[in-house]
C-alpha cells in the first residue's frame, strides 16, 4: 500500500514538474505586452466550450464515481446495527459507568446485579466457558458476566415458558460457535433473553429474526478485551454459586 502511494506521488510529481517547466517556458517567452482591446468578436467559439464541457463532465463523473465507490457497500458499524434492533435495551447508552473500571472489577463470591439476567457488572475472576456451550442447568451469573466481557453472547431462557423444540432451536444457534453459550434461567420474566456486555433483548419467540440480528451485531464486537479474548480455559460447571 505505502509503496503504491509513493509511486503514485512520484508519478504525479513528475507530471507537475513538466507542467512547471512548460510554465517557465511560457514565462520566458519574449515580446508579450498588454494590448488594449480593439474589438470583441461576437462569434461564439463553440469548439473550446464543447471541449471544456466534455472534460468538465468527465472530471465530475470520475470524481463522483470515486467518492460513490468509497461510500457504496459500506456496512453499518455494529453499534448502529444494534441500535436498529427493536426492543434492544442498551445499558451502555443509558449509563457510561457500564463501560467503566468499577463494573469490570473481579470479585469473589455472590454479586448483586442491576438486571436479571445480568448484562454487565463486577464478576468472578474465572469465566464460564463459551465455546458454543449449551448448559443443561443454570450457571453462576458471576462466571457468565465474565464471559460477556470477552465478547460472548449469553442466551438464557425460562424452561417453564419455552418448549423443548424452542430450546433446540436456540441450541442450534450456539453449538459449534465460539463466543456463544446458553443456559436455562428459571426466574426469567420472558421466555428468552439475550445478553451481551451492556446489551439485552427479551423475546417470546425462538424463531424471531432479531435473535440473529443481535448475534451478528454483538458477538465478538461487544468484547471489552478485543476479538482475541478466549472462551475456553474457564469453567464448565453448572450451579448458580460461583466456584470461588
Amino acid at each position: 500500500m505505502t509503496t503504491k502511494t509513493n509511486k503514485g506521488d512520484r508519478r504525479n510529481q513528475s507530471a507537475l514538474v513538466s507542467q512547471d517547466k512548460r510554465g517557465k517556458g511560457g514565462a520566458a517567452r519574449k515580446g508579450r505586452k498588454p494590448i488594449a482591446p480593439v474589438k470583441v468578436s461576437k462569434e461564439r467559439n463553440w469548439g473550446p466550450i464543447a471541449m471544456f464541457a466534455v472534460v468538465g463532465l468527465l472530471a465530475a463523473g470520475i470524481i463522483g464515481y470515486a467518492f460513490w465507490a468509497q461510500w457504496d457497500s459500506r456496512a453499518l458499524p455494529w453499534q448502529e446495527q444494534a441500535a436498529e434492533i427493536e426492543g434492544l435495551i442498551d445499558y451502555r447508552a443509558e449509563d457510561d459507568s457500564v463501560m467503566g473500571e468499577a463494573q469490570r472489577a473481579h470479585q469473589s463470591g455472590p454479586v448483586q446485579y442491576d438486571t436479571s439476567p445480568p448484562a454487565y457488572g463486577p464478576h468472578n475472576e474465572i469465566w464460564q466457558n463459551c465455546q458454543g456451550d449449551v448448559y443443561p442447568a443454570p450457571i453462576a451469573n458471576e462466571h457468565a458476566v465474565h464471559s460477556l466481557e470477552h465478547g460472548a453472547i449469553w442466551i438464557t431462557y425460562n424452561p417453564d415458558l419455552l418448549d423443548e423444540s424452542g430450546v433446540d432451536r436456540l441450541a442450534s444457534l450456539v453449538e459449534g460457535n465460539e463466543k456463544m453459550m446458553m443456559s436455562p434461567y428459571p426466574s426469567l420474566d420472558a421466555p428468552i433473553s439475550l445478553q451481551a456486555w451492556g446489551y439485552q433483548l427479551k423475546l417470546d419467540d425462538p424463531g424471531d429474526g432479531r435473535i440473529n440480528e443481535f448475534i451478528r451485531a454483538l458477538r465478538v464486537n461487544s468484547s471489552l478485551e478485543g476479538p482475541n479474548a478466549r472462551c475456553d480455559g474457564g469453567v464448565s460447571t453448572t450451579g448458580t454459586t460461583p466456584i470461588a
Binding site: 500500500m1 503504491k4 502511494t5 503514485g8 508519478r11 504525479n12 510529481q13 507530471a15 507537475l16 507542467q19 512547471d20 512548460r22 510554465g23 511560457g26 514565462a27 517567452r29 494590448i35 482591446p37 480593439v38 474589438k39 470583441v40 468578436s41 462569434e43 467559439n45 473550446p48 466550450i49 471541449m51 471544456f52 472534460v55 468538465g56 468527465l58 472530471a59 470520475i62 470524481i63 464515481y65 470515486a66 465507490a69 468509497q70 457497500s73 459500506r74 456496512a75 455494529w78 446495527q81 465455546q131 453449538e175 459449534g176 460457535n177 465460539e178 448475534i215 451478528r216 451485531a217 458477538r219 465478538v220 464486537n221 476479538p227 482475541n228 478466549r230 472462551c231 475456553d232 480455559g233
Partner: protein
C-alpha cells in the same frame, strides 16, 4: 506543490487564435480546462490508488476468514490442553507452538474483517463459500473435533492426552489444509493468499512433527 493556475495560464495551447477576443476567451477556457484536467487526473489517481475493493460479506475471503477463525479457535483450545497436560516434552512444545501461532493468526483474520468493514459473524452457514462446502459430514468444518472428542481430551490423563491430542490435531490440520486449498482456488487477494500459503506450509510441516511424535507416544506407552 500544485503550480498555480495563473502560472499555467501563460501557457499557449494549440494553434494561435486569430482574434484578440477569442484569444482572451481561449485563455480563460484554457485555465478552466487545465483545472478540470487536473481534477480529472487527481480523481483517476484516487481511483487507481484505491486499495482493491474490499471483499463482500458473502465473499470466499470473508467466509474463509470467519470459518478459519472458528477452526483455529478449536486448535488453540486443543493446544492449551496438551501444553498443560501432555506427558512428552515434544508434544507440550508443539502444542505451545500451535496454540500461540494460531491465536496470532486469529487476530490477523479478525483484523481483515475489520478493515473490510465486515462483522465477525456470518449470515450464511459455515463453509457456504466453498464449492463442496455443504458436504461436511455433520461437522461444521473439515477436521473439527466433535464436542465428545473435546470432552474426552479434557478428561484424558497421562500419555492418553498425547495420543488423543496428536490424533485430533492431525485430522484438524488435514481439514484446515483442505479449507486453505479451497480459498487459494477462489481468491487472488494478496493478503489472503499470503496468510493462506503461510498456514499451509506451517501445517504441512507440523503434520510431519505430529506424526513423528505419534511414533514416540506409541513407543512410550508400549
Amino acid at each position: 506543490m500544485q503550480p498555480s493556475v495563473a502560472d499555467m495560464a501563460h501557457d499557449d495551447a494549440g494553434p494561435a487564435e486569430p482574434t484578440l477576443g477569442s484569444r482572451r476567451f481561449g485563455l480563460a477556457t484554457l485555465a478552466i480546462a487545465v483545472v478540470a484536467a487536473l481534477l480529472a487526473g487527481f480523481a483517476i489517481g484516487v481511483l487507481a490508488l484505491r486499495p482493491a475493493a474490499a471483499p463482500a460479506d458473502d465473499s470466499p475471503e470473508a467466509g474463509f476468514a470467519r470459518d478459519m477463525i472458528t477452526h483455529h479457535d478449536q486448535a488453540v483450545e486443543m493446544g492449551m490442553i496438551a501444553y498443560t497436560e501432555a506427558e512428552l516434552p515434544g508434544v507440550r512444545q508443539i502444542a505451545y507452538d500451535i496454540a500461540t501461532n494460531q491465536q496470532g493468526e486469529i487476530g490477523m483474520m479478525h483484523q481483515w474483517l475489520r478493515e473490510w468493514e465486515l462483522g465477525p459473524t456470518a449470515a450464511e452457514p459455515p463453509m457456504a463459500w466453498m464449492p463442496d462446502g455443504d458436504a461436511m459430514g455433520g461437522a461444521p468444518m473439515p477436521g473439527m473435533a466433535s464436542r465428545d472428542q473435546m470432552a474426552e481430551l479434557r478428561e484424558a490423563e497421562g500419555i492418553a492426552v498425547d495420543q488423543l491430542f496428536l490424533e485430533l490435531m492431525i485430522d484438524h490440520h488435514l481439514g484446515g489444509i483442505h479449507m486453505i486449498d479451497g480459498v487459494l482456488e477462489l481468491t487472488d487477494h494478496s493478503e489472503v493468499v499470503w496468510l493462506a500459503e503461510l498456514m499451509k506450509s506451517g501445517q504441512q510441516h507440523e503434520l510431519e512433527v505430529l506424526r513423528n511424535l505419534q511414533q514416540q507416544a506409541a513407543d512410550h506407552s508400549g
